[in-house]
């Protein structure tokens, strides 16, 4: 009965961006039943992107990034308590405090956490940080404000690069160690990663690529690190930016298709169980999900992006209170942004789903450009550097599977706009940083390798 869908008990596990937006959307869509939101952090939902930018620069404090509530969610917020499991048959979420919450429909939005340093003792040294939570942001900001001699950042993905950028803006010495050949290469491929490397070095970053950190040293407090090339870095702060780990362990015995790459769901955000059978009453949204996308060969995508958390949460919430024929697919084209070293980088589509790239507008020299990514002759992604306003055009090309390279006639057209070069997206396993858009099925040019 469609009417019943607007009533009953809904539990959302995860009280961050996706959980909040889902709660709001449920009410907007006319859900009048009981709504409970469970979050293991003790805070009301807060925004994370500022934690690696404005908070580190001292322009905002970590406790001021609370997300605005767009409407009264009339929800019971169970904050500071961890969900430890779910009983799909009894339809109950189990909590760490021993309580269990019965539900009619469940939304899982538990997101990710920072990948910790693999050696727990070294990771526990004073001065060693990861950056994911409000406490992480506040602690790191405080340490940076005390003006350390040198900061070591391990991993040159977006988070690591933004932290390095903030350090330079604060006038702090910073060393970045990355196992791959260049910063951001896992997300953006070869050409833009070279620009990223130049930007880091021009801004005074001591960038070490092709190396791993083999040990963090210190007796109680961090004093430096050993690198695989035999060198040592003396530093008093270390930020481990090795990407994210999906919060799925609590679902290990649930029977859901939950693994290290996330919880598999269909285009309507309904979770699969471990047999690949779709559930009717368990939904997934945000960083913890992986879902098929028709524009990218129906590969399972997992996106660690703000925009995806919002859009997928809204689709999931709509589908939780709508009968089958009125449910919607989550088809949004992935979008993300980063600001670092004075540049605004925005991406649309899936840059890693590509074989070639072309600079369609602007130039590397001008530090202002639009790079278009193609796979087998069609446009699959675009990344702009300080040229965000043209991104909608390229999104349209992606959505319509337009031919690659894009047609001539663009203003500020690069001299080399017809010359395509390999996109040079590396195998993610050789990097220190995660790609943030993970193709969790196959890389397109390595069809036989499960990644």
């Amino acid at each position: 009965m469609p009417g019943d869908l607007k009533d009953g008990r809904i539990v959302i596990v995860g009280a961050s961006l996706a959980g909040l937006r889902a709660a709001e959307t449920l009410r907007e869509e006319g859900f009048t039943g009981s709504l409970t939101v469970v979050g293991d952090e003790p805070h009301a939902p807060y925004d994370r992107p500022p934690l690696s930018k404005q908070v580190l620069l001292g322009q905002a404090t970590a406790d001021t990034t609370e997300l605005p509530m767009r409407r009264d969610t009339e929800a019971e917020w169970r904050l500071g308590v961890r969900a430890t499991g779910v009983d799909l048959l009894a339809k109950q979420v189990l909590l760490a405090d021993g309580e269990s919450l019965p539900y009619d429909r469940l939304l899982i939005a538990t997101g990710t956490r920072a990948r910790p340093w693999p050696n727990p003792e070294e990771g526990a040294l004073d001065g060693v940080f990861t950056l994911r939570t409000r406490e992480d942001g506040a602690g790191l900001a405080e340490r940076l404000a005390a003006r350390p001699e040198r900061v070591l950042v391990i991993g040159a993905g977006f988070t690591g690069s933004e932290i390095a950028s903030a350090c330079r803006e604060l006038g702090l010495q910073v060393t970045v160690a990355e196992r791959g050949p260049a910063p951001l290469v896992g997300a953006l491929g070869g050409t833009l990663s070279k620009l990223a490397a130049v930007m880091q070095r021009n801004h005074g970053v001591d960038l070490r690529t092709g190396v791993t950190v083999t040990a963090l040293n210190g007796n109680g407090a961090f004093t430096g690190a050993d690198l695989s090339d035999g060198s040592r870095v003396e530093a008093d702060v270390c930020v481990v930016a090795l990407g994210a780990v999906r919060n799925v362990e609590w679902l290990a015995d649930s029977g859901l298709a939950a693994g290290p790459r996330g919880i598999a769901c269909d285009a309507g955000c309904r979770a699969f169980n471990m047999y690949g059978i779709v559930t009717d009453d368990v939904f997934v949204a945000g960083d913890v999900s992986r879902f098929p996308h028709p524009l990218f060969g129906y590969q399972m995508l997992s996106l660690e992006h703000w925009g995806n958390a919002v859009e997928q949460a809204e689709v999931a919430a709509h589908n939780m209170v709508s009968p089958g024929p009125l449910q919607r697919p989550h088809l949004a084209v992935p979008v993300f942004w980063s600001t670092q070293f004075g540049l605004n980088i925005k991406s649309v589509g899936v840059p890693t789903y590509s074989d070639h790239v072309v600079i369609a507008q602007g130039s590397l020299e001008a530090r202002r450009l639009a790079m278009v990514y193609g796979y087998q002759g069609r446009v699959t992604a675009a990344v702009t550097v300080d040229m965000a306003k043209v991104l909608d055009y390229y999104r349209h090309l992606i959505e319509t599977a337009a031919p690659f390279p894009p047609p001539p006639g663009a203003q500020d057209r690069a001299i080399a706009a017809d010359i395509t070069i390999p996109s040079a997206v590396p195998d993610p396993s050789v990097l220190s940083h995660g790609p943030t858009v993970a193709l969790t099925g196959h890389l397109p040019d390595r069809r036989l390798t499960v990644v």
Partner: protein
């Protein structure tokens, strides 16, 4: 009627009070409607939005072969557009001057209050001359650093320039173009002279900031400074006046919405967005393709004039539910009132602030007010459309 005459009918002065039925006809005939003079009209939301973001569309009149001076950044393409707009933005908005517009709030409120002093019940006033025109003019003068008492001088120039820039079929525009060029030269000279006076003696205005920029690489040339200053002075007062006047007209025509806003003044920011959709100050923009362009199956040849009817796109029923209804509570209101893409209105934050402050302060005076003449007399301009006078009995 023949859809090839739509541009002629839209620009006909008789259509000024209500061009919206013609826009509906345009969308029906569309999405791409060739005109008798060879130009193309586009009036559907999604096609307009796509073309506003399409880097193959030029804003530069020289792309259709017009031999003319280098225009201001409003009508330039990247990368030159980007360079000049960025330089012009440095003293006006983020990232270099993030608090600039917000810092004008107090002054806007003060000017508004002053203008409203004579607004007593029983009086008949002209919303345009007594309120909607003097407010943005005073604000832009203050912002740019232009003496307010010079208004009669630059008003004449501005009229000539705006008339020359209007959209016309068949381009019978030699006379207005000549007058416009002459006015541009004179106004540019006037503003350069003002800027020169501030060299070494900077005030907190934009002309001072432009002329005293210490970094050679970030300094506008004399020619660029003149073009930019003319653009900002005109754009700063020819559009906001229409937004405020259209707002008063719309609210007085719809007393239930006026009541709603009087009860819930917090709705004002959304009401202004809805105005920008429903009765926008800018109705059309011209673009010219750099290459042959396929739009919804019609190939528009390189160098041909394409008129994007923004005000029609904002009334497209395929984009907006009940588009002909003025609804200050409308959700999802991504109107085309400020355009979109790289030429998105430079002054939008200031226009929003002015309109919100002006209409908000005017609300208490409109309780029993009525329109003396409906429709009011309109200005000639079809592109920058708005009433010339709006007589209201308080």
């Amino acid at each position: 009627m023949d859809s090839a005459t739509l541009l002629a009918r839209i620009t006909d002065y008789a259509s000024r009070p209500n061009p919206y039925p013609l826009y509906a006809e345009l969308r029906e005939a569309g999405p791409v409607v060739q005109q008798a003079d060879g130009s193309y009209l586009i009036g559907t939301y999604h096609h307009i939005a796509a073309l506003l973001h399409d880097p193959r569309m030029s804003a530069d009149p020289r792309t259709r072969g017009e031999v003319t001076h280098k225009p201001p950044f409003l009508r330039l393409d990247d990368p030159e557009h980007h360079r000049l707009r960025t330089l012009a933005m440095r003293p006006f908005g983020p990232p270099h001057s993030p608090g600039r517009v917000d810092g004008m709030r107090g002054e806007i409120d003060r000017i508004t209050k002053e203008l409203l002093e004579p607004f007593e019940a029983g009086r008949q006033i002209d919303i345009v001359d007594d309120f909607a025109y003097p407010l943005p003019v005073t604000v832009i003068c203050r912002l740019l650093g232009v003496p307010r008492e010079d208004e009669p001088l630059f008003r004449a120039w501005s009229d000539a320039i705006v008339a020359a820039a209007d959209v016309r079929p068949d381009d019978d525009s030699t006379e207005p173009d000549k007058a416009g060029d002459q006015a541009r030269m004179e106004m540019g000279g006037y503003l350069l002279n003002l800027a020169e006076q501030r060299r070494g003696k900077p005030g907190d205005d934009l002309l001072s900031a432009f002329v005293n920029e210490p970094d050679q690489a970030l300094r506008l040339t004399q020619e660029e400074l003149a073009e930019t200053a003319v653009l900002l002075l005109i754009a700063g007062h020819e559009t906001t006046v229409n937004l405020i006047t259209n707002g008063v007209l719309t609210l007085l025509r719809q007393p239930e919405q006026l009541d709603l806003l009087r009860r819930e003044p917090g709705l004002m920011p959304r009401a202004v967005e809805e105005l920008l959709r429903y009765e926008p100050p800018v109705h059309m923009r011209e673009r010219i393709p750099h290459a042959d362009l396929d739009v919804a199956g019609t190939v528009i040849p390189q160098g041909t004039s394409v008129i994007l009817v923004l005000a029609s796109g904002s009334r497209d029923p395929r984009r907006f539910h009940e588009p002909d209804r003025f609804d200050p509570t409308r959700p999802d209101n991504q109107h085309l009132g400020f355009g979109s893409g790289i030429h998105l209105c430079y002054g939008a934050p200031l226009a929003r602030l002015e309109a919100q402050a002006a209409l908000g302060a005017l609300l208490p005076h409109l309780g029993t007010a009525r329109l003396v003449q409906d429709p009011p007399p309109y200005r000639q301009n079809a592109m920058l459309r708005g009433p010339r006078h709006l007589s209201v009995q308080l």
